[in-house]
Symmetry: C2
DNA sequence: CAAAGGCATAACCGTAGCCTATGCATCCAT
DNA sequence: ATGGATGCATAGGCTACGGTTATGCCTTTG
């Protein structure tokens, strides 16, 4: 289901947010590096598309109307997530002139790292960060080899030679579409049924899938059903689960919006321990310095909030 | 700080997500209503901008690379929030041919309603919803007058003639920039100090501001300091607080991303009860039917998740 | 071995969005 | 009062981006 074109271009909404913050169209235009007429035209067109006045133009500036408040409130999360996306891409892109090299497992890279990088840029504006992603073993190997300054891994194992510090907790959750039988309290599955039910799943080798299978084995289930559908990306798994293809297992971080909206329902599985520690790792010999130390501090600081 | 242009246009990222879901560039193109060459060109350009291959083109379709996975993972939340924005705008825009009329206080309209509307559209695709926003008194009046079918209010008061049902809990939180003295555990303020400290605040009459002042008065504080800065929008308050202008009070929903990132720090205020019930209201005479009943069911369903 | 499915390239075209220049209204200071 | 400053709107002209159709090449499949 593609996004309607009305909201694919966030520029006008970003501009609206700047007007809210700065109090005038002209100042917002300057902040965005465009001319005042261009900003004025964009905002006018935005109002036409929304069908409701968003700004009160006074002679001394412009303020948001009530509708403008609402639109700005809805636009802000979209812009913030786009900023996360930008931070991630910047870290993928960075190749040369890099001051900080990090490696992260998929869960950390996807859900935690972008905002840490934004916070890092606020602290050290000139630091360029390069990110490589892989499974926890690969990350640990890169740290040990000195290819990266700091790594983030999931899971309990840790090769010798590394120091570690907990930065977050991840939890796998079993989710189904609202109509599924497991969605009702009465029909919650136990470990044996889970092991015997085909799920929508990632490829073998994916950290999430491994963790799920380990948790079932730790529970005494050795016969695991083959996946119902193997797809390449978290995105596709969510789409399949929402579409009612079948149950899926995903990181709790991945499904927060769907649980909020009720498009997916979480199925508690008290039999299984699905929690995982997410940890920062670095060579045990050395003390972290510079941007690496700052990033670790940021990660630890955000930990205290959760 | 405007968004870099690389991520202002979500079209290409949305297309990437469709490729992840559908397995081929051509099918993704069709889903978006554009030609296959157009999609191919967009994705190629996206790869150029990111600087890393995102897709493995096979003769039988296309799959995401590891980097593509990451980008898709970062892009999905942005696209989802844009979908929320779209749902909100659609509800603001709807004027004629409307089947369901609702009114909501700002907090509900901003943070909860868009996803409910998306879920409602999944349930009743043909329903057109019109939203009006106001403070809780206005919402209640509109429901009583029959101007809307369903309302959402915050706060404890409820005029006679309305039935109500809890759909969520809101909580105000006091936040400061990480460097502020209150950020450290040792220096947390008590009610008296809070009452005497100027805050970054919304105009008088805003529900958030009223609730904060009531909570302080309930605590025996009658002398409240004048605001440090009065700004018109939540956006501007967040920007001011992050910039270190001063402490601010906001809905917990509003600052989740900032707390996650560590750009704002929550200051616990055990003295004050800052929780508020968010409730759906409708005329006590009648039983809800049709889309209004569906929307209430969706709101109640999402309540069980939090 | 033919056919089909899927991606890339080429050539053409329409329009959306930007800029500069200018006008008009309002507020403020002298 | 009045001139200056501030801020938004309008007009005209230009560029460039993104779309379409047509076509070619490669690989898998029956």
């Amino acid at each position: 289901m593609p996004l309607p074109s009305r909201v694919t271009d966030l520029t006008s909404f970003d501009l609206l947010l700047s007007v809210a913050e700065l109090g005038s169209i002209g100042r917002a235009a300057k902040a965005h590096g465009i001319s005042q007429p261009a900003a004025s035209a964009r905002l006018r067109q935005l109002e036409r598309q929304v069908g409701v006045p968003l700004l009160e133009r006074a002679t001394r500036g412009a303020r948001l109307t009530t509708a403008g408040e609402l639109v700005a409130g809805w636009a802000l999360p979209a812009v913030e997530r786009a900023a996360d996306l930008e931070a991630g891409i910047a870290a993928l892109r960075a190749d040369r002139h890099t001051h900080l090299r990090i490696a992260a497992s998929l869960t950390v890279a996807e859900y935690l790292l972008p905002r840490w990088l934004i916070a890092l840029r606020a602290a050290d504006p000139d630091t360029v960060t390069a990110l490589s992603s892989g499974n926890s073993h690969e990350v640990a190997a890169q740290v040990l080899a000195g290819d990266v300054d700091l790594g983030f891994v999931e899971g309990p194992e840790l090769p010798p030679g590394l120091r570690a510090s907990d930065v977050a907790t991840d939890e796998l959750v079993l989710v189904v579409a609202p109509g599924h039988r497991w969605a009702s309290r009465r029909r919650r599955p136990r470990a044996a049924e889970l092991a015997g039910t085909p799920l929508v799943s990632r490829e073998p080798g994916s950290g999430t899938r491994q963790a799920w299978e380990w948790a079932l084995r730790a529970c005494g289930e050795t016969e695991l059903a083959a996946p119902l559908l193997e797809v390449s990306s978290t995105t596709a798994i969510k789409a399949a689960a929402i579409g009612g293809i079948g149950p899926a297992v995903l990181s709790a971080h991945a499904v927060v919006p769907e649980l909020d909206a009720g498009t997916l329902v979480r199925v508690p599985v008290p039999d299984l321990d699905l929690r995982r520690r997410l940890r920062a790792v670095w060579p045990s010999g050395q003390t972290l310095r510079g941007p690496a130390a700052d990033l670790l501090a940021i990660a630890l600081r955000s930990r205290t909030e959760g």
